[in-house]
Amino acid sequence: MSDKPVIELRGVQKAFGKNAVLRGLDLSVPAGQTFAFLGRNGAGKSTTIRMLLGLLRPDAGEVRVLGLDPQTHPLEVRRRVGYVAEDQVMFGWMRVGELLSFVAPFYPTWDAAWAKELSDRFELPLKTRVKNLSKGQGVRVALLLALAHRPKLVILDDPTLGLDPIMRKEFLRDLVTHLQDQRVSVFFSSHLLYEIEPVADSVVILDHGRIVRQAATEDLRAAVKRLIAPVESAGILAALPGLLDISRNGRQCTAVVEDITAARPALAAAGISPEELDLNLDEIFEAYVIGRRKEVRDAKSDLERVA
C-alpha cells in the first residue's frame, strides 16, 4: 500500500478575471480507486480536470498527476493518462479503424492487441466514419482510445452525458470490467449521482471552488443522516454539530447532519431520539451544496423562537 497518490492537489487556486473558480483545492486520490468528483455546473470540475491535463495553469498551489507536474510535463502526463471528455471532438471524416491507427503512434505504450480486443468487445464498426457513429458507439471509441495505451489513471469528464439509460448502464459495466478489474485508478466527474454510487470507492464533493467533503462512499452513507423529530425538539436539532440542513414541515422538524456519531451525544444529553433515515447520494449531495447552509443560521434563530 505504499502506492503514491495518482492525483495530488495542494492549495490550488484559479480565477478567470474577477471570477474565482477554485479557492484553495486540496485533494489526494489514492492509486487503484474509483473516485467520483461531484459538483454542480460551475463548481470548478472542468477547470480542475483541465489543470490535471496541463491545459490550464493554476494561479497558486501545486498539481501532481502520477507524480508529474502537468505544467512542466504535459506530454508525459497525457501519455500516461487515459482521458474521456464530456463531448469528445474527434476526426469525423476518419473511419474508426483509421482513427485508431492515427492515434496509436502518439502513445509509446499503445497495446495493439488490447485495442483490437476492446474494439471486438465493444463491437465497433471499424469501417464506419466517426461522424456516422451513434452516441453510444462514439463514447466507446473514446473509451477505447483512453484505454488502449494501458494508462495507470483514467480521467472521465462526465462521459455518460447524452447517453440513454441502457447505454449508461453499459458504460458503467465497461468501467467495472475493463478498469476496476485491472486496478486502474479512475477519476470520474459526473452530475448523475445515483449512477456513480455503485461504482465509486470514494466521493469528493466540490462546491464553489472548495471541497466540502471527501469520504469513502460507504462511510459517507453511514455518516450523513436525516433526523426527524417533533417540532418541539427543533432547537436541539438546530444546535447539533455538523448540521447541513434543517427545515420544518408542519408538526415535524427535519435535520440533516454530516456525522451521526458526532450528533448522538447531543441528542442523548437532550433526551430525544429522533428517527434516523438513510439518504441516497443525491440527497447527500443536495444537503451539501444547495446552499441551505447559509440559511441554516437564519433557520436556527427562527426555530429557536418557535421552540
Binding site: 445515483y194 455503485p198 461504482v199 428517527e275 443525491d282
Partner: protein, 137 residues
C-alpha cells in the same frame, strides 16, 4: 441468485446486496454448500464496483453466512443454522425499529401495535393458505 439494486433508494448498496443474500438464504433459495458468483462476475452483472461486492462477501463471511474457500470462491456456509437464524433476526429487527418509530410518530401505543401485528399475521396466514403467496418486493 437474483439480486436487484436500486441506486435511488436510501439504503446503501452494500446493505442492499447483503440483505438480499441474507433473505435468499433465509427463504431457502440459497442453501448450504451453494456456490456464489465470483466477485468479478457479480460486479459485472450488477455493474457495481468489485470492491463493494468483496466488502459484502467479507461481511457475510464474518457473520458466518458465507464461507470463502482459498482459491475456490465463495460458498454458503455448511453449518448455516446459527448464521441463518441471525440473518433472519437482523432483517426483522430493522423492520421492527422502523415500525416502532412510525407507531410512536402516530401516537399508537405498544399494545395497539401488537394487536395490529396479530391481525396482520392472521390476514397473511389466510392469503398464504389460499395459495397466493405474499410476494416480497
Amino acid at each position: 441468485m437474483f439480486i436487484r439494486i436500486s441506486s435511488s433508494s436510501g439504503i446503501p448498496i452494500t446493505r442492499q446486496i447483503a440483505d438480499q443474500i441474507r433473505s435468499h438464504s433465509a427463504s431457502g433459495a440459497l442453501t448450504a454448500g451453494d456456490r456464489l458468483p465470483s466477485v468479478r462476475q457479480l460486479a459485472r452483472d450488477l455493474a457495481v464496483n468489485p470492491n463493494t461486492i468483496l466488502h459484502v462477501y467479507e461481511r457475510l463471511t464474518a457473520e458466518g453466512l458465507l464461507e470463502r474457500r482459498q482459491g475456490d470462491g465463495t460458498y454458503v456456509a455448511e453449518n448455516l443454522s446459527p448464521a441463518r437464524a441471525k440473518a433472519q433476526r437482523e432483517l426483522l429487527i430493522g423492520e421492527m425499529d422502523r415500525l416502532a418509530h412510525r407507531a410512536a410518530d402516530l401516537n399508537v401505543a405498544s399494545d395497539e401495535v401488537h394487536k395490529l401485528l396479530d391481525e396482520s399475521f392472521a390476514r397473511i396466514g389466510k392469503q398464504r393458505a389460499t395459495g397466493k403467496k405474499g410476494q416480497t418486493p
